[in-house]
């Protein structure tokens, strides 16, 4: 051992000029998402359920084919046929959202991630963006495929599809956004809970079980606050986001009690954004503090 500190050899490869950047973190998260089989399974199943439930609905849509239905009524059926599978798509999206982060906690990958990106918030935000964009794009594609399939089936029941209907496209757009929003919430839950099974169970509980539980309470108690709570929980707010709305009127919404909230698509969007922000803020605070 020598007392002097050796200098670096010249043959050492020059340190790359590259550095940590948010664009790089986004790219990294996209590579991570697309290189797992579970991602493609989830996305394929999501498209399949959206298209399959839509086709099932429009096949049995003869029930709606009343003589003399207005164009508006017909388009409302079209919108419903396209979005009837969205809640199942949300379910799959929440599984994907939760897996993106709990898969890292479960395998220890999170330590590699946070070593490469010590500012953990950046890694978390990048995950959120990548998951949201992927879910939006893929569910939008699924919804458009569903629309095309349904447009071939519905005329059999004397319901014609008007592709130029802006309200219909707003419904499709809203549905895709709602899928992305539910996936983002599931990701935040995954970051909070860290355990895959726990996070998926919580997300499924929110999407499927919570509305049922609230409905049970509402049959026993017709107070307005309970109605309002039911209106703003994520699955119901997201359903409002893809309401088929013409002239400010929802085609499917039931009459609301006096003084109760009735979300329109844009207020529903704000409510969903609020849920994402709140859950993400909790996730961010915990992830920043915890040892991994």
């Amino acid at each position: 051992m020598t007392a002097t500190t050796p200098t670096r050899h010249l043959d050492r490869p020059a340190p790359p000029a590259s550095r940590l950047s948010f664009g790089g973190v986004l790219r990294s998260e996209w590579i991570k998402l697309r290189t797992l089989r579970s991602t493609w399974w989830c996305l394929a199943v999501m498209v399949a359920v959206i298209v399959a439930f839509g086709a099932l609905f429009s096949t049995s849509a003869g029930f709606f084919a009343l003589d003399g239905a207005t164009r508006e009524q017909q388009q409302a059926v079209v919108a419903q046929s396209v979005t009837v599978g969205v809640v199942f798509g949300q379910l799959v999206a929440s599984i994907l959202g939760a897996l993106v982060i709990t898969g890292e906690f479960g395998t220890g990958m999170i330590r590699s991630t946070f070593t490469a990106v010590p500012r953990r918030g950046a890694a978390l935000v990048a995950k959120l963006i990548v998951v949201a964009v992927t879910l939006f794009v893929v569910s939008f594609i699924g919804l458009v495929v569903s629309l095309l399939v349904n447009s071939a089936i519905l005329p059999l029941h004397d319901i014609s599809v008007d592709f130029a209907d802006v309200a219909l496209w707003k419904t499709v757009l809203g549905a895709a956004v709602s899928v992305a929003a539910i996936g983002m919430m599931a990701l935040a839950l995954g970051a909070i809970i860290r355990n895959g099974a726990g996070a998926i169970a919580s997300a499924v509980g929110i999407v499927f079980v919570l509305p049922i539980v609230l409905q049970l309470f509402m049959t026993a108690n017709d107070s307005v606050w309970l109605y309002n709570l039911n209106e703003i929980i994520p699955p119901n707010a997201s359903a409002r986001l893809y309401d088929y709305v013409v002239d400010g009127r929802s085609a499917t919404m039931l009459p609301v009690p006096e003084g109760a909230w009735a979300l329109e698509p844009w207020t529903a969007l704000l409510v969903l954004a609020g849920w994402v922000v709140v859950l993400f803020a909790v996730a961010f605070a915990l992830v920043k503090r915890r040892d991994v």
Binding site: R12, P16, L20, G108, R111, D291
Partner: protein, 320 residues
């Protein structure tokens, strides 16, 4: 360069690391030793910001790890071979890690070749053996061509060829002027790889010196004396710093006294000596003594030297 100052980590009521202060210097291989649970992995995790210190601080090249503009170029770390998603291929894992810093396919291919993973790079990591996982972890650590390399138990699960490869790699990285910090429970491995040792026991730094010093520090001066008048000689040498172990009638081992002093005293007092041998213990023994003392510290009363079995001591020159 890694600098830890009063680094402390408390989990519940357990002190995983207790007021550790040390510096890991560039250009050397620094070994990090300690029994299981001594706090080695905790320390390494704190260096790269995965665990938050309860007290104290640790910096890499003068800055907190997270404050560097390009963390992967500063520190490459292998914490455990399992810090990889099992569903992803080795190549994709490295590509995703590198992408954060704009490190591309070329460098990924380089580290895959360097660690000998070409044939399995496209396979999913879930099917990897422990040794392949370890190589992937080392590939990930080297991805950013880092100035500081931290490897936690790098030879774990490697075959003999792999062990030699890690040893050569560590020496090579240090020769390039990098800071190399590696933990191992294999003392013999450290003797061949490390220049400098930091020994941890119960979360405390027990030793922080060159390898040779750690051994002599732990063994102290020890000599074996064979003499028909051993008892008389021992009575002349008795003192607070001298520990005596009777090996067999007429043979004693003395600690805390040099061979020169025993020889001088024997000559001046006319004691006949049949043997006078300075003893040096192997690295394992030195390490055992160090860490055992730290355990016994709390039980009251330091070791008197008699817990070192005579047959683990070897004449000077026989080890290392």
């Amino acid at each position: 360069m890694i600098e830890a100052r009063n680094l402390t980590k408390i989990y519940g009521d357990k002190r995983a690391l207790d007021d550790a202060t040390f510096t890991v210097r560039p250009g050397l291989v620094t070994g990090f030793l300690g029994p299981n649970g001594a706090g080695k992995s905790t320390t390494m995790r704190m260096i790269v910001g995965l665990d938050r210190p309860t007290r104290g601080s640790v910096t890499v090249n003068g800055k907190r790890f997270a404050d560097h503009a390009a963390p992967l170029h500063e520190v490459g770390v292998l914490l455990d071979a399992k810090a990889v998603h099992t569903g992803r291929s080795a190549h994709d894992h490295l590509l995703a890690m590198g992408a954060t810093h704009g490190i591309g396919k070329k460098r990924v291919a380089e580290v895959i070749a360097l660690t000998g993973l070409e044939s399995v790079a496209k396979k999913r990591v879930g099917g990897f053996s422990l040794g392949m996982g370890q190589r992937l972890g080392i590939a990930a650590a080297l991805l950013g061509d880092p100035a500081t390399v931290i490897l936690d138990e790098p030879v774990n699960g490697l075959d003999p060829e792999g062990v030699v490869w890690v040893r050569t790699l560590a020496r090579f990285l240090a020769s390039e002027g990098r800071t190399v910090f590696l933990s191992s429970h294999l003392m013999s491995e450290m003797a061949q790889t490390a220049d400098h040792l930091i020994v941890l026991g119960r979360g405390k730094v027990l030793a922080d010196s060159p390898v040779a010093d750690v051994i002599s520090q732990a063994s102290g001066d020890a000599v074996r004396v064979r003499s028909p008048h051993a008892d008389h000689l021992v009575s002349l040498l008795r003192g607070p710093d001298v520990a005596v172990t009777a090996v067999e009638p007429g043979v004693v081992e003395l600690r805390g006294v040099t061979a020169e002093r025993v020889g001088d005293l024997a000559a001046s007092s006319g004691v006949v000596l049949h043997e006078l041998t300075p003893l040096v213990r192997s690295l394992e023994d030195a390490y055992m003594t160090l860490t055992q003392d730290s355990v016994e510290y709390h039980a009251g009363g330091a070791a008197s030297g008699n817990h070192v079995a005579p047959d683990t001591q070897t004449p000077q020159g026989a080890t290392r």
